[in-house]
């Protein structure tokens, strides 16, 4: 258009004005407030809650869910879903653990290996979904089962014993922390921030939202939809690999077949609590990280308060219902304000 219509210099006043919607969504404010409130309440009711001995492990155990959540957020923004992350975590986890034990690989090699393997698994999902024209939930249900099989075959009915402390850098001991924060969580935050910038400020990120909003229109706008879809699953796989590394790092020196089990639901829960729309087109990684923190705070809180540990899932369910309910309510009032009928 610039050729035909002389462009005005954007005045500084206009640029200064809010160009994008606010960087933090309403859902994220609510979540942040709820988290702070919970932390305050817990600090008063269980004195040890506010100590480093409490929040360091909490952050370390949030890291895997949150880092996978970053990928899952992107996947769900495009209108997809990945229920195979648990299986992928098992496969990457056991492979990495075996490499650590048998080959004595170094930290960078182990991390790269885990991420590369995860990315390959994600790539398979992505290719099947993008080019198979099948709904993501169906494909990933299928690959979840296949990955469970593959993981167990690699385990070969044994646990992986004597995992060396190569990965300690990520969360264990003094050199596993900076300013008291476990490196796994620091890295998760770094990745979340990068993802946030990508999703908010880079072309590719905006295209993911467009794809989730209307894939056909996205194609007509010249967006290579299939390529992006493949990419998001591959990146999710890559982050699953990293999450597997975190899990090994914060775990015991043995790895057993329970690794990854139930993670898909935990990750999806964190994403939806964070305000990402399950139908695609809307969402943010910041909310996902907060969602993961909320879930872990709730279950830790229940144990620390001395309530039956079986109750923690009840509160997780409640948290999902309330968080998403609040989001729905806000959307509805906004719609009413703008006078639109659904």
């Amino acid at each position: 258009m610039t050729a035909q219509l002389e462009t005005r210099e954007p005045s500084t006043a206009k640029v200064a004005r809010r160009i994008l919607p606010s960087p933090v969504t309403g859902q994220e404010w609510v979540l942040g407030a709820v988290l702070v409130a919970l932390w305050v309440i817990l600090s008063f009711t269980t004195p040890a809650f506010a100590t480093s001995g409490s929040w360091q492990p909490l952050l370390a155990s949030v890291a895997p869910v949150a880092v996978m959540g970053v990928g899952m957020t992107a996947v769900i923004i495009t209108g997809g879903i990945d229920v195979s992350v648990g299986g992928a975590m098992m496969v990457t986890g056991v492979t990495t653990a075996k490499m650590l034990v048998d080959q004595d690989v170094s930290l960078p090699v182990a991390v790269l290996l885990a991420m590369a393997l995860g990315a390959v698994l994600g790539l398979v999902n992505g290719l099947l979904i993008a080019y198979g024209h099948v709904h993501a939930i169906i494909i990933t249900f299928g690959t979840a089962n296949v990955l469970q099989f593959v993981g167990r075959q690699i385990f070969n009915s044994q646990t992986v014993n004597g995992i060396p402390d190569t990965l300690d850098f990520f969360s264990r001991g003094e050199n596993g922390r900076t300013l008291g924060i476990p490196h796994s969580f620091v890295l998760t935050l770094v990745i979340a921030v990068l993802a946030w910038i990508y999703l908010r400020h880079m072309r590719g990120g905006r295209h993911l939202y467009a794809i989730g909003g209307d894939p056909l229109a996205a194609r007509l706008a010249g967006i290579r939809v299939q390529r992006y879809v493949v990419l998001t699953y591959a990146v999710t796989g890559l982050l699953v690999g990293l999450a597997a590394v975190f899990t090994i790092a914060s775990g015991t020196s043995t790895l057993d077949q329970s690794i990854g089990s139930g993670q898909e639901l935990a990750v999806i829960a964190a994403v939806v609590i964070g305000g990402t729309s399950i139908t695609g087109g809307r969402g943010s990684v910041l909310g996902t990280v907060l969602g993961a923190l909320l879930v872990q705070t709730v279950s830790s809180g229940v144990t620390q308060l001395g309530w039956p540990s079986q109750l923690s899932d009840f509160f997780v369910g409640l948290a999902i219902a309330i968080a998403v309910g609040a989001d729905l309510l806000r959307q509805r009032t906004r719609q009413q304000r703008t006078g639109q009928q659904p």
Partner: protein
């Protein structure tokens, strides 16, 4: 003629499933006669394996109902409902000394009530179904454990209930046929018939498929969209309540993790429903497809246990389920483009 058969095979899930089922049976029988199996793959074994098919098929039918209702319909909480309703059954029948019939009625009502909560959230509050049922999945699962302090109820009344799922000879013609688990007659067949009648022969079925096909058009046609969707979740809960009774009987104890231990019952049920041709986008799904898919997976699994010794057996079951699901789904994707849609 051949082209038509191929087309039917590719475009009609029922035909594909039937062909796969025959393939599995023939293949396993061949393996058996070739001496590659560790036990006989015979009619007695297949019939005994139906014990597991009963709850699986019933829950897959429950998923059919909610998935067909559309707008992202799905019920992740169905296994948790089985757990929680099962505890209700355990209390009523095992502890409070209710009669069996009264206890069953109460359990089904409890299941329906738990399903109604999902229905309320999804149909009236307009939660996405995946989220609503994820939330109730966590909540119900937790409550089931908390209310009995995690202990199963296996008082003698419950333990003796096993009799309603044992194998029986089919009357009159049954002598030369294998005994069939009683649950097939007392639970599965009635449920299949009821769901089939509901979906294919009643106005509820018409409304259900209508809202699943096109929510907006259903509203414009004067249908009560919300009530219909609500009812579908309630119905799924009621079926789960019935499954809770069956599982309590089959395992002679009401366990608080009956539907949630391991991978739980919900994900396999959804998988079977999808394999049976229920479209995840709503509006498409047939009872016969789900029944065939259940039989396919049950008998494939039973065969795999005889074909692979050691831990491999159960591991290959996972592989088989995953591969069959992906294969069927991809095939559908292909046919949708080539033949313009399959039903």
């Amino acid at each position: 003629m051949a082209a038509r058969a191929v087309r039917a095979l590719l475009t009609q899930r029922i035909v594909l499933l039937a062909a796969l089922l025959v393939l599995v049976l023939v293949w396993m029988t061949l393996l058996d006669s070739g001496g590659y199996l560790t036990g006989a793959y015979d009619s007695d074994y297949l019939s005994a394996a139906l014990v597991d098919a009963v709850p699986m098929c019933m829950l897959a039918l429950a998923e059919l109902v909610v998935i067909v209702s559309g707008r992202g319909g799905i019920d992740l909480s169905i296994g948790a409902i089985v757990s929680l309703a099962g505890m209700v059954f355990g209390f009523a029948y095992g502890r409070w000394g209710w009669s069996l019939l009264a206890a069953i009625v109460l359990t089904v009502l409890a299941g329906a009530a738990l399903g109604a909560v999902n229905g309320l959230l999804v149909a009236y509050v307009r939660f996405p179904a995946l989220i609503a049922t994820l939330a109730t999945y966590y909540a119900y699962k937790s409550l089931a454990l908390v209310i009995t302090d995690s202990k199963p109820i296996s008082d003698t009344e419950v333990a003796e209930l096993y009799s309603i799922t044992r194998s029986v000879e089919i009357p009159v013609i049954g002598h030369d046929l294998p005994d069939v688990p009683l649950g097939v007659f007392t639970f599965l067949i009635p449920t299949v018939i009821v769901i089939w009648l509901l979906t294919a022969r009643t106005t509820f079925g018409r409304r259900l498929f209508a809202i699943g096909t096109n929510d907006v058009a259903a509203e414009w046609s004067g249908l009560d969209v919300r009530k219909t969707r609500f009812t579908s979740y309630l119905l799924a809960g009621a079926i789960a309540g019935l499954v809770a009774v069956y599982i309590s009987a089959q395992f002679a104890s009401a366990r608080p993790d009956a539907g949630t231990s391991g991978n739980g019952l919900a994900l396999p049920a959804i998988t079977i429903a999808v394999l049976g041709g229920v479209a995840i986008t709503g509006g498409i799904g047939r009872v016969s497809g789900v029944v065939l898919a259940t039989f396919l997976i049950t008998w494939l699994n039973a065969g795999i246990l005889l074909a692979f010794t050691g831990n491999d057996g159960t591991q290959y079951q996972l592989l088989a389920l995953g591969v069959v699901l992906i294969f069927a789904a991809l095939l559908n994707g292909v046919t949708q483009r080539r033949y313009g849609g399959s039903r």
